[in-house]
Symmetry: C2
Subunit: 234 residues, 2 copies
C-alpha cells in the first residue's frame, strides 16, 4: 500500500482507511466469516442475474486486488469503472494504465467519460460514467465511502459492498454487505460465480430472495463478539 | 496526520497505524472507557512514585499530542526521549524542532545521544539514550510497537502503554495498558497527575498494588462487546 501511494495509485488518506480495515480484519480473526460467505453467495447470485452489473474500482482496490478485479470483470461480464474519492485525472490515468497492464479491456469512468452526476454526493466524487454506473442495475463497490453507497442505493441500484467495518455507513446502507478483506472476498466471489454459473435464473433469484442483509450483519457482529470473548479466555 | 507526513514528522506507515487506531476507537465508542480510566489512575501513581520516569515520543505521538506530551513532561518532571520506529536523523531533528517550538526543553534520544542498545529489538529501533530510557524505571510508550514494549519490559522497566488495540502485543505486554486514544488519554493523564500530586507515596503505592492489568484488559474487551451488542439492537 505504501508503494501504491508512491506509484500514484493510492493516496495518503487511503493508507488511513487501509489501517482501519486491518483493525477490523484483526477482530474478525483475519478469516472469511460464515456471514461473509453467505453475503458472497448472495452477491454472486445478484451479479449473475443482473442486466448491467458494473464493478467500481478506486485506488486502494486497484492496489490490493487489481488483478482479481480484472478476472472478476471477465468472468462476470461486468465492466470496471474507475471511481475515485480523491479524484484527479492523473490518478485516474495511472489506475487505468495499471489495470490495462493487468489485462483489463474497456475501462469506464476515466476523464470526460465520467460525465453523469449522481445526486446527493458532494464534490467530484459524484461523477459517474453514463454508460457504466449510470446505467447499471447492480454495482459492486469495494472499499467505498458511505456517501456514495447511499447515493447509489437511492438511485435505485442494488449495491454490493466489500468493507471490513460492519458498522460503517457503507455496510449499513448496502443491499448486500460483504464484511471481509477484499484480498479474500474478491477471489471468493470469483469462485462463487464460477460455481453458480450453471444454476438457472430461478435458482439464483431464490438465493437472492433468501438473503437478509440486516440479519447477516448482526451475525457478523456476533462472530466478532465470539472472537473477542475467546481471546479473553486465553 | 497526512500533513504530519508531508512535514516529515510522521511516515506513511504511520498513517496505516493511525487508521488501525481509528477503527479500535470506533468500537470503543470513541470515549475513554471505565477500564481506561482505571489504567490512567494507575499510570499516574506509577509516574509520581518513579525515580526516573521517561516519556517516549515517536512521529505519530508528536503529530497527535506533541503539545500535551510537553505539558505532561513538565508536570511529571519526566524528560521526553524521541524514539522512532522508522528512524532517520532527519526525522529525529524534525520532531525535535517541532517539540522545541511547543516548549520542550531538554530532549533525549536525538542523533548520537541514542547510543545504548536494548536487547531483543531488531534494527535501529533498539537504540536508546543511556541518560533517558537506558536509566529509566518507568517508561511511558504511546503508540509503540510490540517488539520494543517487550524488550523494555524484559529490561526490568515498568512499561505504561497507550494503544487502542487491547489485543496488541504492546497492550498484552505492558505493565499498565491504557487502551484509549492518545488524544483523550494524555490530557486525562495530566489531570490525574495534577490531582494525585498531593497524595502520599504510601497512598500512591497502594493504588499501584491494587491495579491488575490483565483483569483490566479483560474489562476493556467486555466494554467493547457491550458496545457492539448495543449497536446490533438499534
Amino acid at each position: 500500500m505504501v508503494k501504491a501511494v508512491s506509484d500514484g495509485i493510492a493516496v495518503p488518506q487511503g493508507l488511513i482507511a487501509h489501517g482501519r480495515g486491518e483493525a477490523f480484519d484483526y477482530i474478525l480473526g483475519e478469516r472469511t466469516s460464515r456471514a461473509a460467505s453467505t453475503a458472497i453467495t448472495a452477491a454472486a447470485a445478484s451479479i449473475l442475474t443482473a442486466d448491467r452489473p458494473v464493478l467500481s474500482v478506486n485506488g486502494n482496490t486497484a492496489a490490493l486486488v487489481g488483478k482479481e478485479m480484472v478476472a472478476l470483470s471477465r468472468i462476470a461480464f461486468a465492466p470496471i469503472e474507475v471511481n475515485l474519492f480523491h479524484r484527479t485525472l492523473r490518478r485516474e490515468l495511472a489506475i487505468g494504465r495499471y489495470l490495462s497492464r493487468l489485462g483489463a479491456r474497456s475501462l469506464l469512468g476515466i476523464g470526460d467519460s465520467a460525465s453523469q452526476t449522481v445526486r446527493g454526493i458532494a464534490s467530484s466524487r459524484r461523477m459517474v460514467d453514463p454508460a457504466g454506473i449510470g446505467l447499471a442495475d447492480v454495482v459492486l463497490i469495494p472499499l467505498e465511502d458511505g456517501d456514495r453507497a447511499e447515493a447509489l442505493k437511492r438511485a435505485g441500484k442494488t449495491v454490493i459492498s466489500i468493507d471490513l467495518n460492519p458498522l460503517s455507513r457503507t455496510s449499513q446502507t448496502a443491499s448486500i454487505s460483504i464484511v471481509d478483506n477484499v484480498i479474500r472476498a474478491v477471489p471468493a466471489l470469483i469462485m462463487a460465480i464460477q460455481k453458480m454459473k450453471q444454476l438457472s435464473n430461478q435458482s439464483l433469484e431464490r438465493i437472492g430472495r433468501g438473503f437478509d442483509n440486516e440479519k447477516n450483519l448482526r451475525k457478523t457482529i456476533e462472530e466478532i463478539v465470539v472472537y473477542l470473548r475467546g481471546w479473553m479466555k486465553k
